[in-house]
């Protein structure tokens, strides 16, 4: 009894300290700034961006692709960890699911920022045409949102019931909310059976849904006649890239939460070591697809391909390109191959590097290609040859990132990020040496 009490005390959501309050306030301020900038954009139109008739997709789209990619972490951790019943997953999976929920919701919102006529959103449903990849997105994103939410929610039920009891004296109001969301969980065998079955179904569903989501996202590009997009590599390239972005984000967030909530006893170096191996695996796979994408076309040296690649290797986006390849891929691989590199602190920095690299990677996929059309850009104003985001675009984009973090922060504040019931069961099981069924 004693043990499980400390467990609940440790793992129950805690009030923010000073740092937490500052963090949340900062995120709220950035979000509000972004909302104001967006309202201004709606009033004035997209002239407030630096996009033009050639570079007509900018960081709004690359940011959207980044969110979609990062939201893959839920699917990939479930696929790799839950279904293979890896024991070390327990403290990690819920964080992955929280990131997924936050990112996919923000992906749905960010795509609208790029619309010239957000007021006509309904036309997608009134006049939607199935052969357009955008409609595929319109279908798969809400589906994925629902699946992610359910996958987060169902395993929470026992914990919510525990929290209801835990807070019944200290925070009756909060306790009531937990009670409502726990759907009268009593832990009876019947309930457990239904819950396990549901979780199992959703855990299986999220894998194809995640793969479809990433692939549709890749097809948004590869269905178009553009050098750098028109590639059969795209689907797999995006899936592997999404694993990198997602696991990178996971490492970073796990580190911060562990530190902020003092969970060192639950998320140990052992977990970081495993996560590090996971991340390096995804990076290696991604490297493979990058070689396909960036090196192999050099052999046939089709003129358009070579122009495009040289533009990346040594053109105006070269510094960014090399930063993404070296900083976002090569360095993480090298560091993570060493055991010392898989300690929590270095992992945090590597995770951060990977996330930043992944964000810029999406930019490099979207914009340089647009600046290399088949027919040269000619007879247009000088500014149409380049693209760098405007203040509006930056403020709005940062706000979407802040909002994603805000969703994560909110969920971390009110949910037990490490499953209490399961951890208790596991501790019980190790004591009695009985294997635990998932």
């Amino acid at each position: 009894m004693k043990a499980s009490d400390t467990l609940i005390n440790d793992l129950a959501p805690q009030k923010f300290g000073r740092k937490g309050v500052i963090w949340t306030t900062a995120l709220i301020i950035i979000s509000i700034a972004g909302i104001i900038a967006y309202i201004d954009q709606v009033i004035k139109g997209q002239v407030v961006t630096n996009m033009n008739d050639y570079a007509l997709w900018g960081i709004y789209i690359s940011n959207f692709v980044f969110f979609v990619a990062t939201s893959f972490v839920g699917a990939v951790t479930v696929a790799v960890l839950r279904l293979t019943d890896n024991a070390w997953r327990t403290p990690i999976v819920r964080i992955a699911e929280i990131i997924s929920v936050a990112c996919i919701i923000m992906a749905g919102l960010t795509i609208m920022i790029d619309m010239g006529r957000p007021d006509r959103l309904m036309n997608l449903f009134i006049h939607g045409r199935m052969q357009s990849p955008i409609i595929w997105d319109v279908i798969i994103i809400p589906t994925y949102i629902v699946i992610c939410l359910l996958l987060l929610y169902f395993p929470l039920l026992p914990d919510l019931a525990i929290l209801k009891k835990h807070f019944s004296q200290t925070h009756p109001k909060l306790s009531k909310w937990y009670g409502k969301f726990s759907l009268n969980w009593t832990g009876s065998d019947k309930q457990k059976k239904i819950q396990l079955k549901s979780i199992h179904i959703i855990a299986i569903l999220i894998i194809p849904a995640g793969f479809i989501l990433q692939t549709v996202d890749a097809w948004l590009f590869s269905t178009l006649f553009r050098v750098g997009w028109d590639s059969t590599n795209m689907g797999a390239y995006f899936i592997s890239g999404a694993s990198v972005a997602g696991v990178g984000a996971l490492v970073t967030v796990v580190y911060v939460i562990r530190k902020a909530n003092k969970l060192e006893n639950y998320i140990t170096e052992y977990h970081f070591d495993k996560l590090g191996k996971f991340l390096v695996l995804t990076c290696l796979i991604y490297l493979y697809f990058n070689i396909n994408e960036y090196v192999i076309p050099e052999f046939t040296s089709k003129k358009e391909e070579v122009t495009h690649l040289n533009h990346l290797y040594s053109g105006q986006y070269a510094p960014l390109f090399w930063f993404v390849i070296i900083g976002g891929l090569v360095i993480p691989i090298i560091v993570l191959l060493f055991k010392k590199g898989r300690k929590p602190l270095p992992m945090f920095y590597i995770g951060l590097l990977v996330v930043v690299g992944s964000w810029w990677k999406r930019f490099l996929i979207v914009t340089p290609t647009l600046l290399q059309p088949f027919l040269p850009i000619q007879g247009v104003p000088e500014s149409w040859h380049h693209y760098f985001p405007s203040i509006h675009e930056w403020v709005i984009t940062f706000a979407t990132l802040a909002m994603a973090l805000l969703i994560i922060t909110f969920l971390v504040r009110y949910l037990p990020i490490i499953p209490i019931q399961r951890t208790a069961d596991e501790q019980e099981a190790t004591k009695t040496n009985k294997p635990l069924s998932s």
């Binding site: 007509l56 619309m115 010239g116 006529r117 959103l121 178009l224 000619q378």
Partner: protein, 327 residues
């Protein structure tokens, strides 16, 4: 019922065509009716009745005299989806005659109320290979028969008509810009912000004129169906002083640049006509006649405003010319 309609259509087509675009081959006098229409020299009160096609596809009988006053009916977005019956429009651009006079660009811009930098017709300076001599290439929308822009449009705001024309309904467009990225010929432009002229509703909106334009929506060359319905040439074709741009109907196998009317297939065959980026399979309806036996040296094309010349300053061949002091 449908059968009868077709019958009627084909029977009447001859008359309409005689009247309209592709005139002189069947016209006895051999004079182009297009120029007749333009100058108003149609047979005066001959009492001769001719049948013409109204915008909504009905045949009406009118006095030959009154043809010039053909009513400019507004084609609503719904009607504009149908296309002009039995037509298959095609454009042929003769590169050997182009000297970058930019009259096509200006004529088109004026008619569509476009701003300085918004060009449905762009003139590009091309060079096929290192040895090849540079030439000017006027580039409208190619009104592809396999248009990627139509395929990817999520709302059907971009659509392909039976007469081959690809149009945009700016009342339906959501501004996703997917069609712009899909077009391999960079034919599309976007209205990034609001402009005062968009508020001028004196002329009701029609996808066939694209006036008034709307913020956050896409525009491009429309092949000027409003002119075609009146039996006139698109603005670019009629504005070109060199007669570079031929326009016509593939079904009738005739194209004209306003002064000369020729057989489309013969022209393509004799002059080695080709389409841009044929290998993409988009099947454009704009053909080019190669820039051989030029009427003008390419330098003549630099005889434009300083500001416009400046827009070409990054083109390698322009840099070369500058070094050689040709500019």
């Amino acid at each position: 019922m449908a059968n009868k309609k077709t019958e009627n259509g084909s029977e009447n087509r001859r008359n309409f065509l005689r009247l309209g675009l592709m005139s002189s081959v069947s016209a006895v006098a051999g004079a182009s009716l297009i120029s007749n229409l333009a100058t108003g020299e149609e047979k005066k009160a001959s009492g001769e009745k001719v049948r013409v096609l109204t915008p909504d596809g009905k045949m009406v009988e009118v006095d030959a005299e009154s043809i010039n006053n053909y009513p400019e009916a507004v084609i609503t977005p719904e009607e504009s989806r149908k296309g002009i019956p039995d037509k298959k429009f095609v454009m042929v651009i003769d590169l050997s005659k182009c000297k970058n006079a930019r009259k096509c660009v200006e004529g088109c811009q004026k008619a569509h109320k476009l701003d300085d930098h918004q060009e449905f017709m762009k003139v590009q300076l091309m060079q096929n290979n290192e040895e090849g001599s540079p030439y000017w290439l006027p580039k409208p929308c190619f009104h592809c028969d396999e248009p990627p822009c139509v395929t990817v449009c999520p709302t059907g705001a971009t659509f392909k008509r039976d007469d081959g024309i690809v149009l945009i309904d700016n009342e339906r467009c959501i501004g996703c810009k997917f069609c712009i990225t899909s077009c391999p010929y960079s034919a599309r432009t976007f209205n990034w912000g609001h402009k005062e002229k968009f508020d001028d509703k004196s002329q009701p909106y029609s996808p066939e004129t694209q006036v008034p334009a709307a913020e956050g929506t896409v525009m491009k060359c429309d092949f000027c169906p409003d002119m075609l319905r009146q039996g006139k040439l698109p603005y670019c074709a009629s504005s070109c002083p060199m007669g570079v741009i031929y326009f016509g109907d593939k079904n009738e196998d005739i194209v004209t640049n306003g002064t000369e009317t020729v057989s489309f297939s013969q022209l393509i065959k004799d002059r080695g006509g080709y389409r841009h980026l044929e290998h993409l399979g988009t099947k454009p309806n704009v053909y080019y006649l190669p820039a051989v036996n030029r009427q003008f040296p390419v330098e003549r094309g630099f005889d434009v405003d300083e500001e416009i010349l400046d827009r070409y300053k990054d083109v390698p061949i322009v840099k070369e010319f500058k070094e050689q002091g040709k500019l």
